[in-house]
């Protein structure tokens, strides 16, 4: 019996077994940001500890940075957090991609674009969307702040191994169906808690054909399905993406490539579960409720609690509909929106903006809709500028902003107001997620967000943009 990538990486990084039975796992790469790290550095100071391998921790600022006038947050609390990260990076000798570096951005965009994210490695970050890096065949997961302290101090964590579920998506995606729809569909099928205890291995010919950025979109939302990590086996595309990036050692690249590819799951690997999904069953998918597994295709109606299978499901639908102010049994298509947001660690990469820009020329954002576009990093922003994308967006009535997490979780000034409804390319539709305790979020792909912005309501992008040819996954 062969091994999965998860088992290979886990074995290669096992330092030993702790008294309570957990594995002491070496964390080769540690990413930090301003929200979940200051307390960890405080703990180090209290304990008189230093950072064990400062060269293996990389910092950036993303959650609280404003997307307008980025250098000078008006919010004193945000300014204090930025100063704390600067001081901690300086005091402990950690690399910091700050706003002046030209490399700042969402931590899950920065890691791959710098080539810090590599196959066969372990990556931890005090952020649940760390699974994004699994797109490169890394075992990457979110941790709490006390664990951030553990990694800083020892470069290891006390962890329990996960089971592995292989999710195969085979066939051909229909036109207008994107990586975002694939992962929203998976979460809908398996549930928000379906992945508890598992790491997800995404496979099948649809995943094989995806670009690295599309794979990142899929892996990014593993946690929304309850899985602590998700990954794709490394292949020629992974190698091509990484080749020549700043943190990739090019001295013996053939050997590096061979080592990277050796971590891919063996053909006879053991899996604890296998799920097979037919790509043709996936439609443009949107959420209607307050959990990421509250998903439906754009042509479906909003669920009716009267038709729920269990009392628990009935109560859950009723709670979600009351919060979302939506009517049971009615189409999701046509629901009015107030705000449109394109960005986040799920969909804030160059390919996302290129794809939307292909379709919005000649269109205008509907009157009364606030539409904002937030690149995932400064490097993505520069790429967009070089390709003339900001003008395409602003001509169509979108606001073009600076890099950061922005309205995904609204720790900066970009927030919903009152019960505004936002068509969002981000990853979470929890109550209050986008900064207003009564704000409403509908998750979808960036092209679907653009269609909603232009029509002023949740729309089928295939109709508005005449999407006939297979789009992103060529």
């Amino acid at each position: 019996m062969g091994k999965s990538l998860f088992q290979k990486v886990w074995d290669a990084h096992t330092v030993g077994t702790l008294a309570d039975g957990r594995t002491q796992l070496f964390i080769g790469t540690h990413l930090i940001h301003e929200v979940t790290s200051p307390q960890a550095f405080g703990m180090l100071r209290d304990l008189g500890l230093k950072v064990k391998f400062p060269q293996r921790t990389f910092a950036t600022v993303d959650h609280i940075v404003p997307t307008i006038d980025q250098d000078a947050p008006q919010d004193p609390l945000a300014a204090e957090m930025m100063q704390a990260l600067r001081k901690n990076a300086d005091d402990f000798g950690v690399t910091y991609f700050d706003l002046a570096s030209g490399k700042q951005g969402i931590v899950h965009v920065v890691g791959p674009e710098q080539g810090i994210t590599q196959p066969g490695t372990t990556i931890a970050c005090g952020d649940s969307h760390t699974a994004t890096h699994g797109a490169f065949g890394a075992i990457a997961f979110g941790i709490g702040t006390t664990q951030v302290r553990d990694v800083l101090a020892s470069q290891t964590l006390a962890l329990e191994a996960l089971k592995v579920r292989r999710i195969e998506v085979n066939g051909d995606l229909r036109p207008g169906v994107y990586a975002k729809d694939v992962i929203l569909h998976i979460i809908r099928l398996l549930g928000a808690k379906g992945g508890i205890g598992y790491g997800y291995e995404y496979a099948g010919d649809v995943i094989d054909r995806m670009s690295m950025e599309e794979r990142m979109t899929v892996c990014n939302m593993s946690i929304e399905g309850g899985a602590r990590c998700g990954y794709v086996n490394p292949d020629a595309k992974t190698v091509a993406y990484l080749k020549g990036r700043p943190y990739v050692d090019m001295t013996d690249f053939d050997a590096t490539t061979a080592r990277w590819l050796s971590f891919a799951s063996d053909p006879d690997a053991h899996y604890d579960d296998i799920v097979r999904i037919n790509a043709a069953d996936i439609e443009p998918t949107v959420t209607w409720g307050i959990s990421p597994d509250h998903g439906i295709s754009i042509s479906e109606n909003i669920p009716d609690p009267a038709k729920a299978a269990t009392p628990l499901e009935k109560a859950s639908i009723e709670e979600a509909l009351a919060y979302m102010k939506l009517d049971a049994g009615t189409p999701i298509k046509g629901v009015k929106i107030d705000v449109a947001f394109i960005g986040s660690c799920t969909n804030g990469r160059i390919s996302d903006f290129r794809e939307v820009a292909k379709y919005i020329q000649g269109h205008k954002v509907a009157p009364g809709v606030k539409a904002i576009v937030v690149p995932g990093s400064q490097i993505v922003a520069i790429q967009c500028e070089q390709e003339g994308l900001p003008k395409i967006f602003t001509d169509a009535g979108f606001e073009w902003r600076g890099a950061g997490c922005s309205m995904c979780l609204a720790m900066n000034p970009d927030k919903l107001i009152g019960d505004q409804l936002c068509a969002s390319s981000s990853n979470r539709n929890f109550k209050g997620r986008q900064g207003s305790p009564t704000g409403r979020t509908v998750l979808m792909s960036p092209v679907m967000v653009a269609a909603a912005a232009i029509n002023g309501c949740i729309s089928d992008a295939r109709e508005l943009f005449h999407l006939e040819k297979p789009a992103a996954v060529a």
């Binding site: 309570d20 070496f26 709490g144 302290r149 964590l157 309850g226 602590r228 709670e319």
Partner: protein, 200 residues
Amino acid sequence: MALEPVLNVTGRAVFIPGADIDTDRIIPARFMKCVTFDGLGEFAFYDVRFNSETGEKTDHPLNDPRFAGASILVAGVNFGCGSSREHAPQSLRKYGFNGVIAESFAEIFFGNSTTLAMPCVIATAADVVKLRDAIEADPSTEVTIDVENLRVRTSGGLDFPVTMPDSAREALVSGRWDPIQELLDNDAAIEAKARELHYV
């Protein structure tokens, strides 16, 4: 580092209804604009405890005077899902909770809670309903999470088994819930592993 073993926790309990209660719900992101965990307790479940327009208290169970001072939280499935923010269990700890009983937990929340010596035990849906009914019928009911023997008992006579991963139970009852010293003690093995890994 000698830590206090967590063999059991006892207190009055409060039931918070709903599945998939996420960590944004437990501690909204705007309260994370801080560089310490101090003061998070008052913001636990803030946006469901207070009406965002009027500022008035809602009918949330944590506002119910019958459950004031409860230190055991009882919940449904997938409690603590979403963001990895340790601010969530920190805010519950500082609010006054010492343990959580739920049908299931999201893993990062579970791990963060264990590291804070706050046991999270898993009960069946039927037992959660019985416990809920018991504490709602008599909010003065004392609930004990017996971590050592993995049972929940109440002063009203309920007594049912619960589960948690062996490693977490062991860490709590042996006073090793914060693993930092043990991790640091293996320094030689850490150094050896670092030399073995090409990319480090």
